[in-house]
């Protein structure tokens, strides 16, 4: 191995893209495939630099587009490699064909999504429309709140992806602009800690392309009549089972990481000041910090409010969310993307479904903000708090509320 970082809990100051690159570096992927796209570009530049400097012992595949980025990594995983890449928006769209195949082959890859609003209107700024658009494909999706959480979540993602009960690809998502370029204090865990945490890679024990273990990977499956359709169902159910098992494995992996580094991130959802809350906000990603500040301000004014942050969006931790929100009188869900067909945010839609089994129907309202790089400020959250309290007080839910509409 080359001169990998020997730092012991070294503190650096970096943006989210560099934090992601460090998370990848510390996870020791064998192969990294890259193609630049705003706002991910500096992330892959960091990877290239790490490899050029010998800090990272990985093969750099600088290829002709995102479709090939994911495709070379499919080949590499089937040959036995641990892999990493990152993309965003139009790159993710171009990657979609192999992206869709990844969970079906149960390839335990980790790919960062630096989230961005997708065209049209043409936009190169933050938003989560890209990641939300691919939520049904079978990748695990985790959303990070801070630069440190990005770095820590990448090794955790490998641990989850390669767990024999899971064997699914993971997207570790961080918000374009605010996290990708936002600079903060980040602690680098020692390499030995990450090595011990991850253990031996387990990437192609289930499916491989190796003359020493010849097999056909992905024979045609299905067709009316015969065993084909039932086999197809079996594999689809297998992915569903892997997703449900992932809920447990994600918690275990976060717990293990916490023990080794002292940083315990909430694995599925984080409950903030929910103890006696009568009103709750639901947030996702980097908006959460400003929302917590707004919650504190409201608490100081004597209002009983809390917050639930969603870290893991796929698999959706429906039971945990229902449990956390079951006692409140109103819920305000803030999205950074749009669910066009339901005229609300996609997170709102999911929380709504999670609350279905509750004996009492709790009023909920959808807020959409932060599209196209817009800022969701503490003041915007004050509006969310106000509207949600009015909802609790009996006002009829109207929505969605577009937070930056009048900025």
């Amino acid at each position: 191995m080359n001169q990998l970082p020997t730092t012991t809990g070294k503190v650096i100051v970096c943006d989210g893209n560099e934090a992601a690159a460090w998370g990848a570096c510390l996870s020791r992927p064998d192969m990294v495939a890259v193609y630049p796209i705003t706002p991910q570009s500096s992330l892959v530049e960091y990877l290239a630099e790490f490899i050029a400097d010998g800090r990272m012992d990985a093969d750099l595949m600088d290829v002709e587009g995102e479709h090939t980025v994911l495709s070379v990594l499919h080949g590499a995983v089937l040959a036995g490699a641990r892999t990493y890449s990152a993309t965003s928006a139009q790159g993710l769209a171009f990657m979609f064909e192999p992206y869709f195949r990844t969970p079906g082959l149960r390839l335990p890859m980790v790919v960062s999504l630096v989230t961005r609003d997708a065209v049209s209107p043409t936009c190169v700024w933050g938003g989560q429309q890209d990641a939300m658009t691919v939520k049904e494909v079978g990748w695990i999706h985790m959303y990070c709140e801070t630069q440190q959480e990005i770095l820590d979540t990448i090794p955790i993602a490998y641990k989850v992806a390669e767990h024999p009960d899971v064997m699914l690809p993971v997207n570790v998502n961080h918000d374009g602009n605010y996290l990708s370029y936002g600079v903060a204090r980040v602690e680098l865990p020692p390499q030995s800690v990450v090595d011990a945490f991850l253990g031996e890679k387990q990437v192609n024990w289930h499916a491989c392309l190796d003359p020493e273990r010849p097999m056909a990977v992905d024979p045609l499956t299905g067709g009316a009549g015969g065993i084909g359709p039932s086999m197809f169902v079996k594999y689809r159910k297998g992915i569903c089972a892997g997703m449900q098992d992932a809920l447990r494995v994600i918690e275990e992996a976060h717990e293990d990481w916490g023990k080794r580094t002292g940083r315990y991130w909430s694995p599925l959802i984080e409950e903030y000041r929910m103890e006696d809350a009568e009103v709750a906000l639901v947030t996702i990603g980097s908006m959460t910090g400003a929302a917590k500040d707004a919650v504190d301000t409201a608490r100081e004014a004597g209002r009983k409010i809390g917050l639930v942050k969603i870290k893991t969006f796929r698999p959706f931790p429906a039971a945990r969310i229902a449990q956390a929100l079951s006692k409140v009188k109103a819920i305000g869900v803030v999205d950074r993307s749009v669910n066009f067909g339901w005229n609300c945010g996609p997170v709102f839609q999911e929380v709504l479904a999670a609350m279905y089994a509750q004996p009492v129907r709790i009023p909920m309202m959808s807020f959409i903000g932060g599209l196209a790089g817009a800022d969701i400020t503490v003041e915007h959250f004050a509006t969310v708090v106000e509207r949600t309290f009015r909802l609790a007080g009996g006002e009829t839910a109207a929505g969605p509320v577009w937070l930056n509409e009048n900025d």
């Binding site: 082959l105 064997m167 289930h206 097999m215 990977v217 499956t221 594999y235 297998g238 089972a241």
Partner: protein, 89 residues
Amino acid sequence: MSLRNVPDNMCPIATEYTTMLTGDWRALRPVVDRERCVKCATCWLYCPVQCVVEKAAWFDFNYDFCKGCGICAEECPHRAIKMVEEAEG
């Protein structure tokens, strides 16, 4: 980890071979004239299904798989192969 430990719902892979008896596609069957065959292997070279079988003094066909395309008869430089109609029934 060996394949035995791979759950059968994990992902679509295959290690057992398919067997399809394409011989029943055949309307015409190649028949070798053993007197004329000089074992030049031209039929073997061009047979798309590679069902030509070497015998001691001539080349013959595995009729389980021969689809009856007729290339062997067409290409045989010694006109040692004839395509004859499959018997009905």
